[in-house]
Amino acid sequence: MLKPIRLRSLLRSRQSSWNLALLLGALTLFSAIALLATSGWFITASAIAGLVISSSFTFDYFRPAALIRLFAIVRTAGRYGERLTSHHATLSLLKDLRSQVFQALTLNKNNSLKNTSSGATMHRLVADIDRLDRFPLQFLAPWIWSGLIVVLYILFAYWLQPQLALATSFGLLMAWIIIPTLGFIRGRKLAFHDVHTAEVRREHFLESLSLLTSLTLWHTWDQQQQDTLNADKDYQTQHHQQRQLISLLTLLQQLALALSLGGLLWVGVFLVNATLISVPWLLAAALALLGIHEALAPLASSFIGLGQSQAARDRINQLIQAQESTAQLKAHSDTPRPSAPFQLQTQQLSACIPGALNGPKHINIELHSGQVLIITGASGIGKTTLLKVLANTLAPNQGQYLINQRPATDWQLDECIGYLPQQFDIFDRSLASNLRLADPEATDEQLWQVLEDVALADWAKQQNGLDTALGEYGAQISGGQARRIALARLLLAQRPILLVDEPFAGLDSASSHQVLKALRQRQAQGILIIVSHHEMDTPDVQRLHLA
């Protein structure tokens, strides 16, 4: 359903903005060059006319003067307009990309994102999206502009005298195509390595800092510090090489342009002596050639920009493709939903998280709507693993997991199971908007009621009420509070089967009982399973102690 991102098609959706930006940029460059050329032509022609007193009054200076003013104005206004339109187009591109990538990520159904990719990968994804704008800005636009300008110049020189076109085109083509292309292979390679070495360096620094105290005590810090600084040097050197390559290409470009100018003047002097071309026109051609430098200079770094965008595109596509294949698998099975009353059953169920050493073994559970199960046991025994299986996010190794007499995998359980895992997400927004993620229509009264149920209403009143900011990753709240906010959110979603991992962390015994009571009330018609290392002294519940 989602096509991989292609650099070429990046611009299609905003074609008109980009076209305008490209047009204005080309006009600006053209005017800057033409301004110089016309000015040179004008004063030389004036000088010639001034030599003969009578002709200085017949010399038409209005038209060139008007042209000079026109070019000066177009250059100024064009630059301003170009910057505005290209920024508008870039920001729009950024918006489209974010939207597109986000949509691709939402299609991934099996929650594997957290397992397959760490926060660092996500960080890189965001940076990569930002990096894609280098393709139009640093690669495409400079090549289009410089191509236009070079072709126009050669046509102009040809119109003056074919020999002039011949004399200048060698140096021009060198500076325009051959020299930047020389940098292509090396520049691309350097750009592709960029992110990798940056990543290695970051890992080194993070690891070193976390080990700093121990290694200082153990007298092995010096070695570690040296390794870290070497990783830094690797990255810096790599980066340095990119810059050196750009400088070198710029130098070669300038020399090629100088060669072209040399050719122009050499041939020009002979043509003037043979009166095949007038001095003002030769000067105009020379000044225009000097001005072309501005159009060609960005090409030196264009391939680095291209390489960086290509590398970024590849990484994003990899991520999207991985998501997509899993999404397709799930989409094919158009499965039915179970309906109340519910029965949840495991038979001799064993499971293990990949890479973990142990997990729950031979578990037998049978629960019906209205029943509560409390799972206890020492940490590391596999309580969380068991809950994962029950939430249908982990396949059991052995045994059966049945819902309403059919294997859980045969059901569409999305809107049936509510699961508060060990790791959950609190978003950097207000308390109310975090809660309303589960039910956008919820009234303030409903929010306060659910906060009351998870023993957070008093806390919220002391804070900023429903508008309390929760900070990035819920940084401004304790772990237990964050857990209960996530629980409250889940309660608002009203799922008939509720699986909760450690809801009582950080609560005293009285509050724990209050929360448990509220949970039981809300799940009176459904199933409630709680994992806790607290011993909860409460009647009428099934208990499962893992050992």
């Binding site: 000015s39 040179g40 004036s46 920024h87 690891e207 005590l217 600084l229 993620l437």
Partner: protein, 577 residues
Amino acid sequence: MVSSVNNTLEQTEQQLKRKLRQQLKSIITPQAQRLHWALIAAVLATLLFIGQSWLLAQLFVGLLDSIHTGSELSAAFDLRHAIALTLCFTLRPIAQYIRERLSQAASFHARIQLRTRLLNTLSNLGPERQTLGSDGVLSTQLLEQVDALDGYISRYYVQLYLVLITPLLISVAAFYYSPLAAILMLMTAPLVPVFMILVGSAASRSSQQQMAAMSQLSGRFLDWVRGMPTLQHLKATALAQHDVDSSASQYRDTTMKVLRLAFLSGAVLELFSSLAIALVALYLGLGLLGILPWAKGITPVPYAGALFILLLAPEFYAPLRQLGSDYHAKAEAEGAIEELLPLLEQHTWQHPGQHPLLLEAAPAIRLENLSITAHNGRIRLPKTKLSIAAGERIGLYGESGSGKSSLLLALLGFIPYTGHILINQDSLLDLRRSDWHRQIGYLSQQPNFKRGSLADNLRLAHANATDSQLYQVLADVDLLSLVKKLPQGLDTPIGERGLGLSGGQLSRLAIAQLLLRDTQLWLLDEPTAHLDPDTSAKIHTLLEKLSRDKTLILVSHQWQGLHWLDRHLDLHELHTH
């Protein structure tokens, strides 16, 4: 009232600016030589440009004369001129290339030096660094903020001088032909600093705003992406998608509003350089025609001078235009330095002692009137008295803020103190710190591991430990049976921060590291804080078995399984006032 508040605010802002400048200067100073040579190369390039313009003007004067007055071209432009022109055209790009290489090298070395310096500061601070931020924040500072200085060192610094030197040189050259044109140019010169301020403050404000808005938007997007499993579970992806779309549109619209103004200052500079060319051309051209309203019939500037000045005109404002586009480099560098300031200004304290220390048995430790004060004068630990006998094992309890962490830092020799810490009979301040560290087994709240095998991580504590020694300590901490079951045994890789092992297993592994050090004194800083009560009780029992005959100080909140300690002390009750 209000104005005085504003004044003090302004003053502190100015103080901050001054500090930032000083810090930037101190970072650049070691590279001053490279940067000066880069500036010289840039000035040389300007001089070559002036020479090249003059020679080109000579060539065209010669051509014009040879056509219209019949004189020889070589009278104005001979072979020597041609060679000089070729040299100018070749040497100018080379001078610019040298400038770039030199300033890039300066930036490269300056950043490596700064990073080394900061890493040294952090290692001197030891665990004390946590007052400056989490390791994640610190590593971002060391990486991103230091790299943010690049543009300032490699482009902006030289450009700042060039913006003053280039217009001056060009005016002087123009003066020779047309004092009027030169004076006109110089009269616009005072505008240069005015425009620097105008362009500068507008650009820096808008670029800062834009960067802030951008990072806010990125953060929000990242927040949603990271929480994807939760969003999917709550069926809230459409809501988030809508937020992503609308906030990006909103960001675009507000940014465009800011940019519309910011680009104006750039457009003004563009206008100036266009006008410089256009006006000079019109003035000189009409002058050559002899039809200037105030100078009818005379030629104020001859053709040679006119062409020369026209050729110079584009370069007059070029450095300023460049500076305008590099200005964000300055804003970026100042922002980065501001972030780094706490780290840069950190006074690292060096443990002074030089006396060797060799302990044969568990030491006695006495704290006499020990107090610890922070740099800002805050008291981190009030006067405290404590005496621990050789081989005694004590538990230390204290509310947060009572100074337990500071006490441990002082015992480790990472921070200065007043009063005395006596190890047997020796004052800690007299002892060589590395010798003292050899005697300490230190365990903090977070066991530290790196990516590598089990054996690699154990050998961090004791590089030359044999496999049998490793098996021995693993047996001591009851991990041997588990390790034996692993297919790769000691070579089993464990991830960053010990990924793949449970909290209790990681604690055991950290204790195994301690055992490899075979020290006489153990300082344990809440080693079980992150474990559940059952597991921490088990770890405590294990510690009892392994810490016999050692002096032990254990700071903890959880007391299950710690009945074996000789004494339980509340730090608060040890304060002597």
